[in-house]
């Protein structure tokens, strides 16, 4: 691993439009949607039907704050994570990359580091922007600050979740190598599989659901553990991290062995 490899991966990632568009979509959707939901809650505060929202805001404020905007915005991060690697295969650029860097694992590591840092910075800006914008909108009704129990951890947890999600998607992209197939797989794992599993009654299904990568991973972005949660916030994050490490290892193992 040399600084040159990191510089090269940075050049690659910044020089294609899909990166800019994905990140812009993430920021706009996350902030816009969160602000919209906060405005709706604030404007209908005295509506009797809004009571569950009040309760949720008091018991787990960040779930309400992050739920909508980041829940939707995370899809853009997942898509970007996939295409950071799969687009090299679909365009043939992987051949140029591997002729320049025939040692494939260092190339993968450099790609992971550069993308994770970019993801981390953009996520940090977005998560705090979402937090401060939505709490400002809700201020006249409810006061939520970083000093409340679990709130700072949930903000940092949200940033970490989005960073690891990017790497999780990158691993799937590197394993499947086809952009459409990999995006469908990742989005299916985020949006489709969890509700399907949760339909199955029984404690075994409940535990399977709890250990699904993104279900476990999102726990750390909640300010307090809910009764239905199988894992604690950090346990959940650990499970998500484990999923990601295993998939990245498989990705690296195959990358080193498959024909490019």
């Amino acid at each position: 691993m040399t600084p040159g490899l990191l510089a090269a991966e940075w050049t690659k990632i910044r020089s294609v439009r899909s990166t800019v568009w994905s990140l812009l979509a993430f920021v706009v959707v996350a902030i816009g949607f969160s602000a919209l939901i906060a405005l709706v809650i604030a404007n209908t505060w005295n509506n009797p039907g809004n009571h569950p929202n009040h309760v949720r805001l008091l018991t787990d404020p960040t779930a309400v704050i992050f739920g909508a905007g980041l829940g939707l915005g995370q899809l853009a991060i997942a898509v970007l994570g996939v295409i950071v690697i799969s687009s090299e295969y679909s365009t043939g650029a992987i051949r140029a990359s591997l002729l320049a860097v025939p040692r494939r694992i260092p190339m993968l590591l450099a790609k992971m580091i550069v993308f994770a840092l970019l993801d981390l910075v953009v996520s940090a800006i977005t998560v705090f922007a979402v937090f401060f914008i939505t709490t400002a909108i809700l201020r006249s009704h409810v006061s939520i600050t970083l000093s409340e129990p679990g709130v700072t951890r949930a903000c940092i947890g949200g940033i970490l979740y989005l960073t690891v999600l990017g790497l999780f998607a990158l691993a799937v992209g590197g394993l499947i190598r086809h952009t459409a197939g990999a995006i469908a797989t990742v989005i299916g794992l985020i949006l489709v599989v969890p509700p399907l599993i949760s339909l199955i009654p029984g404690t075994i299904a409940n535990h399977i659901h709890g250990y699904l990568p993104t279900v476990a991973g999102q726990l750390v972005a909640q300010s307090s553990q809910q009764p239905a949660d199988v894992l604690s916030p950090w346990q959940g994050f650990g499970v998500f991290l484990l999923w990601t490490v295993v998939l990245l290892a498989a990705c690296g193992w195959l990358l080193a062995r498959r024909d490019a």
Binding site: G4, L5, A8, T11, T91, G92, L99, P102, D259
Partner: protein, 314 residues
């Protein structure tokens, strides 16, 4: 073991795709200072061999080295080997300059080198344009620019004139000859014999993944096909008898009748025919040994190994 940095060695290279053997125990050397043509019909395994040498594909057997090292052991590979494989080996959304910039960064090569090679291939004006908008010819030029980025002693070019206009083809030929004269190793594949006849000093010919010939271009033409001699004589009928009696075979030239003065003789060398004519005091107007074209030689040698049906020798 010290070795010339420009020497490519393939030893027993083997690659299978499922049941199909794409490269079959292939061994050859590619020497510096000359253009070595890598010739074979479509599907003969040329591209696969180049992918094995550059480590993009893993061989099922055998090895390939450049200057004694496997490709993935080269520390800054682009400064040792420049390769133009498939033309579309780039992200269409990335500009030509950024494509070269990231490659330069991986090698620790100065970023200014990107502009130098863009000048070299005449793409400076479109340096900031997205490569996806380039014609195939421009894409090939960008590929050649990438191959030249590290100023390497070895160049491997897979069908470099594909998609180029006549001016571009001439440019690539001149370029390859010039690089070879600088002492570099030029290994260039083609399925076009006519192309190799004018560019290559040496030929490595393969068919169905196996080596058919590894020799100089002239030698390939000479030894691959039976040579014939054109004889023109006012006493053609008499001469024909003498030649046949001496073991030669006379073919009528296509489009000429039996009584033509022109004879195409195979099986006897020109000096022997001259001697026969002299001994019988026959007048000769012409006595010309004829070499088959490289095209004919190639067709003859690879006739058994054409992968996808027989192509006509046209």
């Amino acid at each position: 073991m010290a070795q010339a940095p420009g020497l490519i060695e393939a030893r027993d290279l083997t690659k299978r795709f499922g049941d199909k053997v794409a490269v079959d125990h292939l061994s050859f050397d590619v020497e510096p200072g000359r253009v070595t043509g890598f010739l074979g019909p479509n599907g003969a395994g040329k591209s696969t061999t180049m992918r094995l040498i550059t480590g993009l594909d893993r061989p099922d057997g055998g090895s390939a080295t450049i200057g004694g090292l496997a490709y993935n052991q080269l520390s800054k590979p682009l400064t040792r080997v420049g390769a133009l494989l498939e033309a579309r080996s780039l992200h269409p959304g990335r500009s030509a300059r950024n494509h070269l910039l990231f490659l330069a960064q991986t090698q620790g090569v100065a970023a200014s080198r990107a502009d130098e090679v863009l000048d070299l291939v005449g793409l400076r004006e479109v340096a900031n344009k997205r490569a996806g908008g380039f014609s195939l010819g421009m894409t090939q030029r960008l590929g050649i620019a990438a191959a030249m980025l590290g100023d390497p002693p070895v160049l491997m070019l897979d069908e470099p004139v594909n998609g180029l206009d006549p001016e571009g083809i001439r440019w690539v030929r001149t370029f390859m000859r010039q690089l070879a004269s600088e002492g570099r190793t030029i290994f260039v594949s083609s399925h076009l014999m006519s192309e190799m006849a004018v560019t290559a000093d040496h030929l490595v010919v393969i068919g169905r993944g196996s080596l058919i010939a590894n020799c100089s271009t002239e030698e390939f033409i000479e030894r691959s096909s039976e040579r014939s001699v054109l004889v023109r004589s006012p006493d053609a009928a008499r001469l024909r008898e003498l030649i046949t009696a001496d073991g030669g075979t006379v073919q009528a030239e296509s489009g000429s009748d039996q009584n033509s003065n022109d004879l195409i003789v195979t099986g006897l060398p020109a000096p022997r025919i001259g001697k026969l004519a002299a001994s019988a005091s026959l007048v000769l107007h012409e006595l010309t040994p004829r070499l088959p074209s490289l095209e004919e030689a190639f067709m003859e040698m690879t006739a058994d190994s054409v992968e996808y049906g027989r192509s006509s020798a046209g």
